[in-house]
C-alpha cells in the first residue's frame, strides 16, 4: 500500500444536531420568512442540508425595527463594560462549540475541516475576545472622549468565510454599541443560524443581533432600508459599487471590502522553501475563495523556472477531496455558479496563450470541484492577470528589477493585499512602502489577526475592519453624535455591573420580548 494514500480520517458529523428548516432570527427568536424558502446544500456532495427561510422586504423591515428598538431601549444605554461581558460570553461559547461550528462550516461551505477547525473558528473567537476588550475603552478608539455608536448596522457578508466574516462585522459593531441586522450569503447561511443559537444561549438582549437569510434581494432591501445608519459589505466590487451608489446622499456610512488581485512578489534572495509554502497558502487556501488571495505570482526572472518547478512538485502533494476529512488540503468550490466562472476564466487564460498546468488528481463524482491550476507565461495584459478568479488558479508573471515588480504589482484596479518574499529586510521595507495595497505580508501570506486593520485601496473598497480602525468604522465623535444618540449609561461599579448582566437572565428576557412584541403589534 502507499502510505501517502492516508486512510480516511473523517471528522464526525454526529456533533451536529441541525434542524430540518431554519427561520429568520429576529428580535431574539426564530420566525418564519415571508419569501419562498430555499435549500442550502453541501457543495462537496450536492446533498441537501436544511431548508432556509427567505426574508422579503417586510421581514427585513421587521428586523431593522427590532434592531432599532434594541438600540434605543437596551444596547445604547448599556455600559461598555456590560456590552463587553456579552461579547466575552459569545467568544467563550464559540470556543465551546468550536468543533460543531467547524463541521457545519465545512459541510455548508466546502472548505477543508483543517481550515475551519484551525483557522476560521479560532479567529472567530479571537475577534469576539478582541472587541470584547474594546467595549469599555471606546475613549481610546481615536475619536476623542465619549464617542457615540452609529445606530443600526446593516451587514451583508460573503460565502467564502461565512462565520469569520460574521465575526468581523458583528464583534466591532456590538462593542461600539450598535445593533445589527446581518444577511449571510445565500449559499452559506448555516453557521450564521447556529451563531443565532449561540446568541440565545448567551442571553444577548433580543434585537441586538438579527439575522435575515435570503438572496441578493434581501441584501438590497436591507441596505436600502431608511432606518439603517451604517452599511458594512464584503463581496464583489460590482455589488459594492451598486451599494455605494444606492446610499450616496443618505446619512448612511459605509465600509466596503471588495475584490482583489493581489501580487505575491518573490525576489531571488527569498527563502525559497518557505516562499513555495507561502505561494501555496496564498492562492490555494480556501480553494482560492479569498479576496486577498495572492492570485498573481510575480517571480524574479532569474529564479522563475526553479520556482515554478518546485511549486509543481509541491502542488502534487496537495490532497483534494472530502472537506470533512482531516487530511484534505483542497475542498470543494462553493457553488456551481462559481465553478462555472472559474472554468470560463481559465479557458480564457488558455485561449489568450498562457500555459495551463493542473494537478493531476481524481475528482469526486458529485459536487463542485476544480483542480489546483497554475498558468505560466501570463502577461500583464491577459484577463487572468487582471480579473479576480476567486478560485484555485494562479497566474505566474516575471519581473527583472524591484521597480518593475512594484509597477506590475500596482498595475491593477484593485489594492487589497500583497506579499513580499526576500531575505533582505531593507528591500522588504522599501518595496512595501511603494505598494498600494491595504495589507502587505512579508515572508508570509494570508495571516489574520483581530488587532490588525484589514481593507483595500482603489476598487478593493474603503474603510478598515479589525483593530482600532475597525472599531472606528462603527463610531462617530461625540460632537457629531449618532442620529438617535441615547444618553450613555454611567459606568457602574463591578458589583452592580454583575447584577445588571444577571438581570438579563431568562425571566427579564422574556419580559422584554413580550414588551417588544406588544410594541410591534402597535
Amino acid at each position: 500500500m502507499s502510505f501517502l494514500e492516508y486512510a480516511p480520517a473523517p471528522e464526525s458529523r454526529a456533533i451536529l444536531s441541525l434542524r430540518d428548516s431554519y427561520g429568520l432570527f429576529i428580535d431574539g427568536e426564530f420566525v418564519a420568512g415571508r419569501g419562498t424558502p430555499f435549500q442550502t446544500i453541501s457543495p462537496s456532495s450536492e446533498e441537501r442540508i436544511a431548508e432556509i427561510a427567505d426574508a422579503n422586504e417586510q421581514d427585513v423591515a421587521d428586523a431593522v425595527a427590532a434592531a432599532r428598538r434594541a438600540y434605543d431601549r437596551v444596547w445604547s444605554r448599556m455600559s461598555g463594560r456590560d456590552r463587553g461581558k456579552y461579547l466575552f460570553r459569545i467568544a467563550r461559547l464559540v470556543q465551546e462549540r468550536a468543533r460543531e461550528l467547524a463541521v457545519a462550516e465545512s459541510l455548508d461551505n466546502g472548505k477543508p475541516i483543517k481550515e475551519s477547525r484551525d483557522v476560521d473558528v479560532p479567529l472567530v473567537a479571537a475577534w469576539f475576545f478582541y472587541y470584547a476588550g474594546w467595549a469599555d475603552k471606546l475613549d481610546h478608539a481615536g475619536l476623542g472622549a465619549d464617542p457615540r455608536a452609529l445606530g443600526v448596522a446593516a451587514q451583508v457578508i460573503p460565502w467564502n468565510f461565512p462565520l469569520l466574516m460574521l465575526a468581523w462585522k458583528i464583534a466591532p459593531a456590538l462593542a461600539a454599541g450598535n445593533t445589527v441586522v446581518l444577511k449571510p450569503a445565500e449559499t452559506t447561511p448555516l453557521t450564521a443560524l447556529l451563531f443565532a443559537e449561540i446568541l440565545q444561549q448567551a442571553d444577548l438582549p433580543p434585537g441586538v443581533v438579527n439575522i435575515v437569510t435570503g438572496a441578493g434581494d434581501t441584501g438590497a432591501a436591507l441596505v436600502a432600508h431608511p432606518d439603517v445608519d451604517k452599511v458594512a459589505f464584503t463581496g464583489s466590487t460590482a455589488v459594492g459599487r451598486a451599494i455605494a451608489k444606492q446610499i450616496a446622499g443618505t446619512h448612511k456610512k459605509a465600509t466596503l471590502e471588495l475584490g482583489g488581485k493581489a501580487a505575491n512578489i518573490v525576489f531571488d534572495d527569498a527563502p525559497v522553501d518557505q516562499a513555495i509554502e507561502g505561494i501555496v497558502n496564498g492562492i490555494f487556501f480556501n480553494q482560492g475563495h479569498v479576496c486577498c488571495a495572492g492570485s498573481r505570482l510575480l517571480v524574479q526572472e532569474s529564479i522563475h523556472d526553479e520556482v515554478v518547478d518546485r511549486l509543481k512538485s509541491r502542488l502534487s502533494t496537495l490532497r483534494l477531496g472530502d472537506p470533512l476529512d482531516k487530511n484534505t488540503d483542497i475542498g470543494a468550490i462553493n457553488s456551481r455558479e462559481q465553478l462555472e466562472r472559474i472554468r470560463t476564466l481559465s479557458d480564457i487564460g488558455e485561449a489568450e496563450g498562457a500555459e495551463r498546468w493542473s494537478v493531476p488528481c481524481e475528482m469526486p463524482e458529485n459536487g463542485f470541484w476544480f483542480a489546483p491550476t497554475i498558468f505560466t507565461g501570463v502577461e500583464t495584459s491577459h484577463r487572468i492577470a487582471r480579473e479576480e478568479v476567486f478560485g484555485p488558479v494562479l497566474s505566474v508573471l516575471s519581473f527583472r528589477t524591484p521597480q518593475e515588480a512594484i509597477a506590475k504589482a500596482n498595475n491593477t484596479p484593485y489594492g487589497l493585499s500583497a506579499g513580499i518574499w526576500s531575505d533582505k529586510g531593507s528591500r522588504i521595507l522599501a518595496v512595501a512602502d511603494q505598494l498600494r495595497a491595504g495589507v502587505i505580508w512579508a515572508n508570509t501570506f494570508n495571516r489574520f489577526d483581530p488587532a490588525s486593520p484589514f481593507g483595500g485601496f482603489k476598487e478593493s473598497g474603503y474603510g478598515r475592519e479589525g483593530g482600532r480602525h475597525g472599531l472606528g468604522a462603527y463610531l462617530a465623535p461625540a460632537a457629531i453624535g449618532g442620529r438617535t444618540a441615547a444618553p450613555r449609561a454611567i459606568e457602574r461599579t463591578d458589583a452592580s455591573a454583575e447584577a445588571s448582566v444577571a438581570a438579563t437572565k431568562p425571566k427579564a428576557r422574556a419580559r422584554r420580548a413580550a414588551a417588544a412584541k406588544k410594541g410591534a403589534a402597535k
Binding site: 492516508y6 486512510a7 480520517a9 518557505q274 509554502e277
Partner: protein, 335 residues
C-alpha cells in the same frame, strides 16, 4: 549496508563546488544557498504534524517506525550485559507478537561493538534485507573535541570490530568559526577511515548537533557541507544536547536532501535522533518524510530514528491496535 565510495563523493563535491573545498570556496557556496525563514519553516512543520493517520495507515506506520529505529544505548555505564539485552530486544521487540518487525540497527559506543556483533550472530546484516546493523558512535562522541588522529583511530577501531555504520560528530567549534574547509576535510578523512580492507565501506552518518548550531541557516549549511564531504546520512543530534531532534530541523534537513537529489541524482539519508519518544511524534516524522522527499525515503538506508524509549511506545500502540485496548508498561520489556 555499504557507504558510498570516497572517490565518487569527492568528485561530486568538486563538480558541485566548482573548485577545491577550501574555506573560501565552501563559504561562497554555503552562503549562496537561499536562507531559511524560521517562522515559515516552523509553520510548515506544524502543518505536517496535523495529518491524521488512522486505522490501516497507522498500522503500517507503526511497523515502519520499528523497522527504522536505531535502538540506542550510549551511557557511560554500558556493559556487555546491557548491550546483549539491547540486542535481544532489537531482534525480538515484542515477545508476545512474533509478527513484530525488527529494528534497523543497534547503536552503541565503539568499544561495545564486539559484544553487539556477537549477540546478533546470524541476525547481523543489512536492515534493507531484514537483518540488523551495528552502528557505532565515533570521533570523540559526543563533543568531537579531540585531534583528528584520535577521531580516525576511534572510527577505524569500530569498523574493524564489525560496525556497519559510523555515527560521527562534526567539529561544531570549527563550523561556527567559519572553518568550513576543516570540517569538510575531517568528514572526508573519517569517511576514508570507514573503509574496510576488502574495499567496502561502513556507512557514515554525520551528526550536526543542531542544538549547538542554533540557527536554521547554520543547520542548512552544515547539512550541505556534510553531504558535500561524503556523508551517507545526516543526523540531527547526539542526544546529549538539548534541544535534540525537532520536526522543523528534520524537515529542513529533508529539504536539503531533496535538493541534493534534484541536483545530483544521489540519495542521502536523514536521521533525527534524541527526544522522539511517542508514536504520535514519530508518525509526524514519517508524514514529513513522505511529503517532503517522497515515500521511497522510508527505507532503512535513507531514514532512521535514533531512539530508545520510542520503541516501547510504538509496541504499546501496536498492541492497542491489535487488541482494541491499552495494556501498560509491564506488557512490554524494559530492554
Amino acid at each position: 549496508m555499504a557507504g558510498t565510495t570516497l572517490v565518487t563523493a569527492r568528485e561530486r563535491a568538486l563538480a558541485v563546488l566548482g573548485g577545491d573545498p577550501d574555506d573560501a570556496t565552501l563559504r561562497r557556496y554555503l552562503h549562496g544557498i537561499p536562507g531559511v525563514d524560521a517562522v515559515g519553516l516552523e509553520q510548515r512543520a506544524a502543518a505536517l504534524g496535523t495529518r491524521s493517520i488512522k486505522t490501516s495507515s497507522k498500522a503500517w506506520a507503526l511497523d515502519k517506525i520499528i523497522s527504522l529505529i536505531d535502538l540506542t544505548t550510549l551511557e557511560g555505564a554500558d556493559t556487555p550485559g546491557k548491550v546483549r539485552s539491547l540486542v535481544a530486544k532489537a531482534m525480538n521487540p515484542d515477545p508476545s507478537d512474533p509478527s513484530t518487525p525488527r529494528v534497523a540497527a543497534v547503536c552503541v559506543y565503539g568499544d561495545m561493538v564486539p559484544y553487539a556483533v556477537e549477540a546478533l550472530g546470524a541476525a547481523h546484516g543489512d536492515p534493507d534485507d531484514g537483518a540488523i546493523s551495528v552502528a557505532a558512535v565515533a570521533t570523540a562522541f559526543p563533543s568531537g573535541r579531540s585531534s583528528l588522529e584520535i577521531k580516525l583511530a576511534d572510527t577505524a577501531e569500530a569498523v574493524a570490530a564489525g560496525a556497519d555504520e559510523i555515527d560521527m560528530v562534526i567539529d561544531r567549534g570549527a563550523f561556527l568559526a567559519g572553518r568550513y574547509g576543516l570540517v569538510f576535510d575531517q568528514i572526508a578523512a573519517v569517511k576514508e577511515a570507514c573503509r574496510r580492507p576488502d574495499g567496502t565501506s561502513a556507512s557514515l552518518k554525520v551528526i550536526l548537533e543542531t542544538g549547538e548550531l542554533v540557527t536554521y541557516d547554520n543547520v542548512r549549511r552544515a547539512s550541505w557541507l556534510s553531504i558535500l564531504a561524503g556523508g551517507d546520512f545526516i543526523k540531527t543530534s547526539t542526544g546529549k544536547v538539548q534541544p535534540a531532534a525537532t520536526l522543523p530541523v528534520t524537515l529542513l534537513m529533508l529539504e536539503v536532501v531533496r535538493d541534493w537529489h534534484r541536483l545530483t541524482g544521489h540519495r542521502v539519508g536523514v536521521k533525527p535522533a534524541g527526544g522522539i519518544r511517542s508514536s504520535k511524534d514519530a508518525i509526524k516524522y514519517l508524514v514529513t518524510v513522505a511529503e517532503t522527499v517522497g515515500e521511497e525515503w522510508l527505507v532503512p538506508h535513507l531514514f532512521r530514528f535514533g531512539a530508545s524509549s520510542l520503541l516501547n511506545d510504538v509496541l504499546l500502540q501496536r498492541q492497542k491496535l491489535a487488541t482494541g485496548h491499552y495494556s501498560g508498561a509491564d506488557y512490554v520489556t524494559i530492554d
